[in-house]
């Protein structure tokens, strides 16, 4: 890549994608989705290097980008897609529509930010009721029981403890595409091919499946594996592409 993507934080996958898209010069004959998809993945990798947690939403958009990219590399007739299935073409249309919708509200946010800034110069009198009138304030606790207070307090304290359990005792490990690539390689060692289903037999979370899928696509990009699918909804086969037929 010609330049380093700064590891700044984005508000979400659409924010990231918009920023990547807007950064490109409008040289429409040179840049296409393939470049954007690569940059997107590079950003996700750079974040993982910083040991930050990548949310599922980022991976879902990555999967969409890769799906569209894969479709553009492996031409496939439109009619090959079932009626209730989203074709890469449709996926692209949906993605564009969602990006435009998101951008619209990002524009609103800029307007609101300016208004809020202007408004922050008007200070209100937040002084409360003068001492002599205090007995006139209505009873805002009418209908609230002591028991309710107790339950509220316990509920908050408990939420906090769960948070601590996560933060202090078991630091969640971010899922990295890199790690999954190693895992896939390991499983392919000594065999000519395997199915995606077998590769992901021990995955319990959706996000793990997506990460595994990204890993396989990355291996495909590097020319290490071939991908095949005999029929729609059939098992995706991952075939070792190396001449010797085995992964060292």
């Amino acid at each position: 890549m010609a330049y380093q993507i700064k590891s700044e934080m984005y508000e979400g996958p659409f924010d990231l994608l918009l920023s990547l898209v807007s950064r490109q010069k409008i040289d429409i004959y040179d840049i296409s989705l393939a470049g954007i998809a690569d940059e997107y993945l590079e950003y996700i990798d750079s974040i993982q290097d910083l040991d930050l947690d990548i949310s599922t939403e980022f991976l879902l958009v990555a999967a969409t980008l890769l799906e569209i990219k894969a479709a553009s590399l492996l031409p496939k007739k439109e009619e090959a897609y079932e009626e209730d299935e989203i074709s890469p073409h449709e996926a692209r249309e949906i993605l564009i529509a969602r990006l435009l919708e998101y951008k619209k509200f990002k524009n609103v946010a800029a307007e609101l930010a300016a208004r809020h800034e202007a408004e922050s110069k008007y200070h209100l009198r937040d002084v409360g009721v003068e001492e002599e009138f205090k007995n006139l304030i209505p009873d805002f606790l009418a209908g609230v029981s002591r028991e309710r207070m107790r339950k509220l307090f316990l509920a908050i304290n408990d939420k906090k403890e769960i948070g601590l359990t996560q933060a202090d005792h078991i630091t969640p490990k971010p899922l990295s595409v890199e790690a999954f690539i190693d895992r896939v390689k390991l499983k392919l060692r000594g065999v000519k091919s395997t199915s995606f289903r077998d590769l992901t037999a021990d995955c319990t979370e959706k996000v793990e499946l997506i990460t595994a899928f990204l890993a396989v696509l990355e291996l495909y990009k590097q020319g290490i594996v071939d991908i095949g699918q005999a029929e729609t909804f059939g098992d995706i086969m991952v075939i070792v592409a190396d001449k010797s037929g085995v992964i060292a």
């Binding site: 996958p13 918009l18 898209v21 930010a113 209100l124 009198r125």
Partner: protein
């Protein structure tokens, strides 16, 4: 000014001074037991008087009522006095979420997440805490998700008399440049018909 007028002005001013929320003409009229038209006249006079005499405070119409606030020209001094003042800027995430709620209300967390592309639960909690949004009941769909809308405080914080002062959403449509950039950059050779 006649004695009656001075007295009426004093009463209205005292109410505005102690109130921690905008006061509508109707509310003042009900408390003072004076016709609404007359109250409106007093409010206008006060508004002009404060402005003309360049006082430390102003009277403004916000969120469906009248409220006194400090003169914006003096805010640097006020900020020196009230170091703990609630001057926290809203984060980009908070502003995006607020924008969606303002225009799409009532909306669910899922609606907001769909537009922003990320889970927005944390931001929504922050906005609830800052009293900028409020719960507006539940949606009549499976799971009965909570519906959110903007609060009176939202209008006050953004200097609006009513939600009608929000510019039409169409004005924020991405411009042609951005549209083209998105279309072009997500272009694929094989898939395009």
């Amino acid at each position: 000014m006649s004695d009656t007028n001075v007295r009426l002005r004093g009463i209205v001013e005292s109410l505005l001074f102690v109130s921690d929320q905008p006061l509508s003409v109707e509310k003042i009229s009900e408390i003072v037991e004076v016709d609404g038209e007359e109250i409106k006249k007093v409010l206008e006079d006060l508004e002009n008087e404060y402005k003309r005499a360049d006082r430390g405070y102003q009277l403004r119409e916000v969120a469906g009522g009248f409220r006194m606030n400090s003169h914006p020209a003096y805010s640097p001094y006020i900020e020196k006095l009230l170091i703990s003042f609630d001057h926290r800027r809203l984060t980009q995430a908070a502003l995006e979420t607020l924008s969606i709620i303002a225009y799409k209300q009532p909306v669910t967390k899922a609606d907001i997440g769909a537009i922003r592309g990320v889970n927005s639960d944390g931001v929504i909690n922050t906005l609830l805490n800052r009293d900028l949004i409020k719960e507006e009941g539940k949606q009549d769909t499976p799971g009965q998700p909570i519906l959110y809308g903007t609060s009176t405080r939202f209008m006050e914080s953004f200097g609006m008399r009513s939600l009608a002062e929000l510019p039409p959403l169409d004005e924020f449509n991405p411009d042609e440049d951005i549209r083209r950039q998105i279309e072009d950059n997500l272009r694929t050779q094989a898939v395009v018909e």
